[in-house]
Symmetry: C2
Subunit: 232 residues, 2 copies
Amino acid sequence: MPTVFPPPTPARDTAAPPRSLQKGQQTRSAILEAALGLASHMGLEGLSIGALAELMGMSKSGVFAHFGSREELQISVVREYHAKFEEEVFYPAMAEPRGLPRLAGLFERWVRRVAVEIDSGCIYISGAVEFDDRPGPVRDALAGMVQTWQDALARAIDLAVAEGHLRPDTEAAQLLFEVHGLILALHHDARFLRNPDSIARARRAFDRVIAAHATEAGQQALLQRAAGASAR
Amino acid sequence: MPTVFPPPTPARDTAAPPRSLQKGQQTRSAILEAALGLASHMGLEGLSIGALAELMGMSKSGVFAHFGSREELQISVVREYHAKFEEEVFYPAMAEPRGLPRLAGLFERWVRRVAVEIDSGCIYISGAVEFDDRPGPVRDALAGMVQTWQDALARAIDLAVAEGHLRPDTEAAQLLFEVHGLILALHHDARFLRNPDSIARARRAFDRVIAAHATEAGQQALLQRAAGASAR
């Protein structure tokens, strides 16, 4: 199955490394996990090697040895977030039939990730606000990941057009802009205003936006998906 | 003309204070202006009395004397931002005829403020992301201002229904959610992805969302507004 996401990082593919290296990688993973939690609350700019060392019960130099610099730590957190996002949102949706069912699957998993998992706030969204004015490698890493995800969505929209589920005059970039706006509004209202209606609002708006572009065949495909979901 | 925004702070209304007090207020205003610029780049959490003192060529204690605490400074910046937002977006739009022309005026000025004035990033949007996980008086001040603005928009939508410009079954909260999403997507794409198409995308999406809810009379009112704008 073709994917527009870059292949997994080599670390996930290679054969088991020697034990000492394995131990080092486990520590690195544990630090990264803690850093991801910290960044989702405090922002990527809120990440400090000192705070992280305290959280891990390690020395600053111990943490530093694994990442070399605060910037490298921030970039590693962005990559880790991206890998989790792929696992939770992207890959499962790829198992759905191409066309509107897959697009709906991507949106639904994205909604759940952003709204339900309140504790792990979206680093894509908070990072975009933190780094819109700050050029440099962290911003580049973040923008690259966001662009990869947007390209994947645009491709899912194009496939839905190719399948005959969306009208041929559907402009992928415009539809993507509008769907992304619903996710951003959901993130804002659910996390900042603590409005419990926002998940339902996002879903209703998505259905309306899609209905405005869907063909008869597309509506049938969505109905079949919904019937399958309720039968499961 | 009724407004749902709170009345201006008394400082703007009272008679001229004695000269020494006036001088103090001028200094406070100058500090606040600098703080607003700093916060729009670095975020409200990036505001420090030290950085501000350096920027103003003042001592830390000199800055401190005007605000008392970093938190009070942050809240003052939020209030200042809100006052400017009212002046640029809210009050001019209130001069337009109630109904869809006014709603379109609010949206258009909001778009310009968010997208064109790239240098003064939206503190409502960046603040929401910074403070979604941080309870306290700064978050409360920010959420209060955002809610005030959302209430004003919801009222403009309700008035457009009352004028017969939007269909009677239009749900203000849902339409508001969708329109707000367009602004958030615009902010994201214009400021973070540096995509020059995003203003046009936001306008096109707004026209489409409104068209889906507008009555014949509403469409006429919008055409008249557009004709008036091109004649000016």
